[in-house]
């Protein structure tokens, strides 16, 4: 049977080359590992199968974190954007979020090239059929073409492709997104390894021909000037930007949807999977928010070289004819020509509570998971898990300690902590309100939070490291200069009066002036001899003056969290042997197996009283051992 012996051996196999897979492979390869990347269709590497944008609220934070860890997404987005816009500028610096419209074709090419240019990566079009283990540890992968590749770690980034099934009205087919093939064999292999698979669902709206729209009837939304950027390595961007357009559904649209609900697979029972509440289909919105008489639609260009546009807000699995009828009721879309119809897609995913904080399966050491297979949604969530799983898979192969990024370090930490400890019953989307240390986890300081921590991985180039050091020096310089006390002066009071602020009479510390609304570092530079520290450092100094009190409070809380997280729980602990633990807590703790008291405290169903009982138990155990 076996025609030729297979001699290819890798350190790591990455299954899937979407946003998670690309980051995982690049991280591992750049850490010196030989990586094999398997992908069902090489023309779909880093495919933006849904909206043509990267970033947005809280997702923008993730992109900057990926970048701060030495990942690729931020650089690629800076390379392929057609519009950049900072969101939430009126809601405080902690929730400022960058969003970029992409040329999605170029983004695919740019990311594929990054993989191709990486000497440690072998990119191959083939489908993984089985994951092999030896003594419980990952030892190789088998593909549908019959190849067997030995590897010591494997990162599964199968996205929405596992046993996927798409629905448009009465049309149902077993296939992946955008008409691509689905992966049909890996699910059974995962079941064999002991995983219980679940069905999640997501969807996408129709794409339309841009020239068939009457864009003049819509409200344009332009990019920011000067152009902001994602990567901490990007200096300046210049490019002609493309606008997006706002329009709305109306009663007529809703009537058509209501009349045809019986033909929607969401309501006919054809779809059994769980959808996300945060990205509902238009038919979902009409049913759940029956009192709203309009919903916003956001028309996004799909790229420079295509006329196709994406209709955000109209995700649907209604039949083709209904999609056409409803879209043509919208202002500016009266003559709309649909190029690709919207669809819903169901797929297999695992229960992420089976994973450790570093995204490795407890069942099979060496087996990592990242992206939608873990129950998340979104490119950025996938990329963040990808870089994190890639780093940790590489550290695993090297026999080094995992890099653990916690809730107080990054949105990435919140994402992985939530997924692995709380699990999720619907596709998990990152949101700023999930991050309790949000005042510190800002998009402007992702480098300050993460880059040094990732230094030991080798992913941080010396250029990146030097930049960070210079930024830190500038911040320190600015802060110390602001400690100076200045006397009240005519010029100062003139400035304050101009900004509608009350005058000062006595001596004032410069940093106190900076706390006042509408006073910037640059304003103070006009009046006083302050060092020119550059825009990035100025931003840090200003936010620190404004939110110093909050940051201090959060730091205190983080101290407490760290203390709890520092109390480790021995691996083989028998929760059923601990008297006083409630049954629900015993079950949850046994299933999720937290590594620390802090993690245990974040599991839903484990009460503070349970934690107290557990802490007493652990203390006694420690005493006994000493």
């Amino acid at each position: 049977m076996k025609a030729f012996a297979n001699s290819e051996e890798y350190d790591i196999a990455v299954i899937g080359a979407g946003h998670a897979g690309c980051e995982a492979a690049l991280a591992a390869a750049r850490m010196g590992l030989k990586a094999l990347v398997l992908c069902i269709d090489l023309d779909s590497v880093a495919l933006m199968a849904c909206n043509p944008s990267i970033g947005g609220t809280s997702k923008g934070h993730l992109v900057r974190e990926v970048d701060a860890l030495g990942g690729e997404m931020g650089l690629a987005a800076d390379g392929c954007f057609i519009q950049m816009r900072m969101l939430n500028t009126g809601k405080g610096p902690a929730v400022h979020s960058l969003r970029a419209q992409m040329d999605k074709r170029r983004y695919h090419e740019r990311m594929k090239a990054a993989l191709e240019n990486e000497p440690n990566i072998t990119l191959r079009q083939d489908e993984c059929a089985r994951i092999l283990t030896e003594n419980g540890r990952v030892s190789g992968v088998v593909t549908t073409l019959g190849a067997v590749y030995a590897c010591r770690a494997c990162v599964v980034c199968s996205g929405v492709y596992l046993n996927s099934r798409v629905h448009t009205g009465e049309y149902h087919r077993d296939r992946g997104p955008s008409g691509l093939a689905s992966a049909t064999l890996l699910s059974d292999s995962l079941r064999e390894l002991g995983f219980e698979l679940r069905r999640f669902k997501t969807g996408t709206p129709p794409r339309v021909k841009g020239s068939s729209l009457d864009l003049d009837k819509m409200q344009p939304q332009f990019g920011d000037e000067p152009i902001p950027h994602f990567s901490f390595m990007t200096d300046r961007l210049e490019r002609e930007q493309r606008p997006c357009f706002l329009t709305y559904t109306n009663r007529k649209t809703h009537d058509i949807i209501r009349e045809n609900l019986d033909r929607s697979p969401m309501f006919t029972g054809a779809i059994h999977a769980t959808g996300t509440r945060y990205c509902p289909s238009i038919e979902d919105k009409i049913v759940r928010f029956a009192d709203k008489d309009r919903h916003q639609l956001f028309i996004e260009p799909e790229g420079e070289t295509t006329d196709e546009m994406y209709v955000q807000g109209m995700s649907t699995s209604l039949p083709r004819d209904v999609q056409e009828a409803m879209i043509r009721t919208v202002e500016g879309m009266e003559n709309c020509v649909i190029t690709r119809y919207g669809y819903a897609i169901e797929y297999d995913c695992i229960d992420p509570t089976e994973l450790t904080a570093a995204l490795m399966s407890r069942r099979a050491p060496g087996l990592f998971f990242a992206g939608q297979i873990n129950g998340s949604s979104g490119y950025e969530e996938a990329a963040a898990q990808g870089v994190y799983a890639g780093i940790n898979a590489a550290l695993y192969v090297k026999g080094e300690e995992p890099l653990v990024i916690g809730r107080s370090d990054a949105y990435l930490g919140v994402l992985c902590d939530d997924l692995t400890l709380k699990g999720t019953n619907e596709p998990y989307r990152m949101m700023t309100c999930r991050a309790e240390y949000r005042m510190m986890l800002r998009q402007d300081n992702a480098d300050l939070r993460l880059t040094e921590r990732a230094y030991r991985t080798g992913l941080i180039s010396s250029a990146r490291y030097d930049r960070l050091m210079r930024k830190k020096d500038s911040i320190a310089l600015g802060k110390s200069a602001l400690e100076r006390t200045v006397p009240a002066s005519e010029a100062l009071n003139k400035l304050l009066a101009e900004r509608g602020l009350s005058e000062v009479r006595g001596g004032t510390e410069l940093v106190t002036l900076l706390k006042r609304k509408g006073i910037s570092y640059l304003d103070l530079m006009e009046l006083y001899d302050l060092p020119d520290i550059g825009g990035e450092a100025r931003e840090e100094v200003e936010i620190d003056a404004l939110y110093g009190g909050y940051i201090k409070r959060q730091e205190d809380e983080i101290e407490k969290l760290k203390r709890l997280d520092g109390q480790l729980i021995p691996e083989g602990i028998d929760y059923f042997g601990i008297t006083n633990l409630r049954t629900e807590a015993r079950q949850k703790l046994s299933a999720i197996r937290p590594q620390s008291l802090g993690q245990a405290s974040r599991i839903s169903g484990v009460s503070p009283a349970d934690i107290a009982v557990l802490s007493v138990f652990l203390r006694r155990e420690t005493d006994r051992q000493e």
Binding site: L246, S601, A609
Partner: protein, 443 residues
């Protein structure tokens, strides 16, 4: 937790006060200030001496060796004479040695708990036992745990959560379609109501400490008879407590499970002193100190000038009129609304017992919230409610300034504050600290 702590674990004012010291340095400290023998679980007598060798008190002390003590640590218990001066000097002496620090509230029980001497439920039970001095308090505490308070706080939590969710949604929405809206009205309503709930909580501390009841009235109106009748019937005198002044004695009792303290009963009992103490001055003082005033009027005698003066001097809102001596021929009757001088009245006889049950019910109704009301009997809860109200107020201001991220931060803390009452909080360690913070110091 390797340091040594001390605290007075009984209220000052009893005949004996107990000073507890716990921690590894207890023995050395005890040796330094106490002259008696130190032996595990032995009561020994000796003197407390200060650094200059001067005797502070002659007293007894018990020494417990770890782990066989209340806290599971080395512990000393010194019983001293209960005057404030002695207790204060002893505390000062211990602190001056630098060998121990004052315990945080509930720290002894916390240590006991952390050393595995009791589980959390037991620890909470200790708190309730210490805190509730009578049956009703115990019931209130039980009810609170069963969810009376929980459900009310949950509803506030829900409202706050809704405001929060709206802000969050607006922040997490890329299209600016969801507007934060003006939450200022709801926020100020929440702030006000939570403040009121905390305030009510303070009032219901009556349940832990005992309601102070003043019995006032003209000479011979039957004050002492009524007091005796009320107390005798209940057979519930707890302890005689020496009052704050020499000429009064306070009587702690329980009326239908509500702990009460009758004040100025010395005057009432000693009719010879009454002449000096009657009248407006005394009524005013009682009115100021008491949670409830029983204004006694003799039913067999026309209302006199003295009665009217007393009526004018009391706070009608916290007064019950009691028409006494119903066993004699009556000339005083309440009006059609059951009131005298605008104050609800009950007619009683201390001799036949007529009307006493009605009076008890009236007293209890005035002092104890009805069973369905939320009873915030616990300082931890009051602090949490106040904290939430403060956060909400800060959030409203920040929201106005366009700093939604900071406003949301405050609101989330307010939510956590409320969640700490219902036990939904994630901040486990804080919660444990807070629970123990509500223990009486030293227990």
């Amino acid at each position: 937790m390797d340091d040594t702590v001390f605290a007075l674990s009984t209220p000052v004012g009893g005949a004996i006060a107990l000073m507890r010291i716990s921690g590894a340095g207890s023995r050395a400290l005890l040796e330094r200030i106490f002259t008696g023998r130190i032996e595990h679980r032995r009561v020994s007598y000796g003197r407390i001496v200060d650094g200059a060798g001067e005797t502070l008190d002659v007293c007894s002390a018990v020494w417990f060796e770890a782990p066989n003590s209340y806290t599971g640590e080395d512990m000393a218990e010194i019983s001293i004479h209960g005057s404030y001066a002695v207790a204060a000097r002893l505390a000062e002496l211990i602190a001056s040695t630098g060998a121990a620090r004052p315990a945080d509230p509930g720290e002894f029980t916390k240590r006991a708990y952390l050393n595995g001497k009791m589980d959390l439920a037991q620890a909470e039970a200790v708190m309730d036992l210490i805190a509730s001095t009578a049956e009703r308090s115990r019931r209130a505490a039980a009810r609170q745990l069963e969810g009376g308070l929980s459900s009310i706080v949950s509803s506030y939590y829900g409202r706050l959560k809704r405001v929060c969710a709206r802000l969050a949604a607006a922040m997490d929405d890329d299209t600016d379609e969801i507007e934060a809206g003006d939450a200022s009205e709801e926020l100020s309503a929440l702030e006000r109501e939570l403040e009121a709930l905390a305030e009510g909580g303070l009032r219901s501390r009556v349940l832990r400490e005992g309601a102070r009841i003043a019995i006032i009235g003209s000479p011979n109106v039957g004050k002492s008879s009524l007091l005796n009748a009320l107390i005798m019937r209940d057979r519930a005198i707890v302890t005689p407590i020496p009052g704050t002044t020499r000429d009064t004695v306070e009587e702690a009792a329980s009326i239908d499970g509500v702990p009460v303290v009758f004040i100025d009963t010395a005057g009432i009992r000693d009719t010879r002193d009454e002449v000096e103490l009657i009248g407006i001055e005394r009524s005013k003082r009682a009115s100021g100190e008491a949670d409830l005033i029983l204004w006694l009027i003799e039913g067999s005698r026309e209302i006199g000038r003295g009665d009217e003066d007393i009526r004018a001097s009391v706070d009608a809102g916290k007064t019950l009129a009691v028409i006494t001596k119903s066993d004699l021929e009556q000339v005083v009757f309440p009006d059609a609304g059951g009131r005298i001088g605008g104050i609800p009245a009950v007619t009683v006889s201390s001799i036949t017992g007529e009307g006493l049950d009605e009076l008890r019910r009236a007293i209890v109704k005035r002092l104890a919230p009805s069973d369905s009301e939320a009873v915030v009997t616990n300082t931890r809860h009051i602090t949490a409610l106040r904290g939430a109200a403060e956060r909400i107020s800060a959030a409203a201001a920040l929201q106005q300034d366009g700093l939604g991220d900071a406003a949301f931060f405050e609101l989330r803390e307010a939510m956590e504050s409320l969640a700490s009452i219902t036990g939904r909080s994630d901040a486990a360690e804080d919660l444990v600290d807070e629970i123990f913070g509500s223990f009486c110091v030293g227990k």
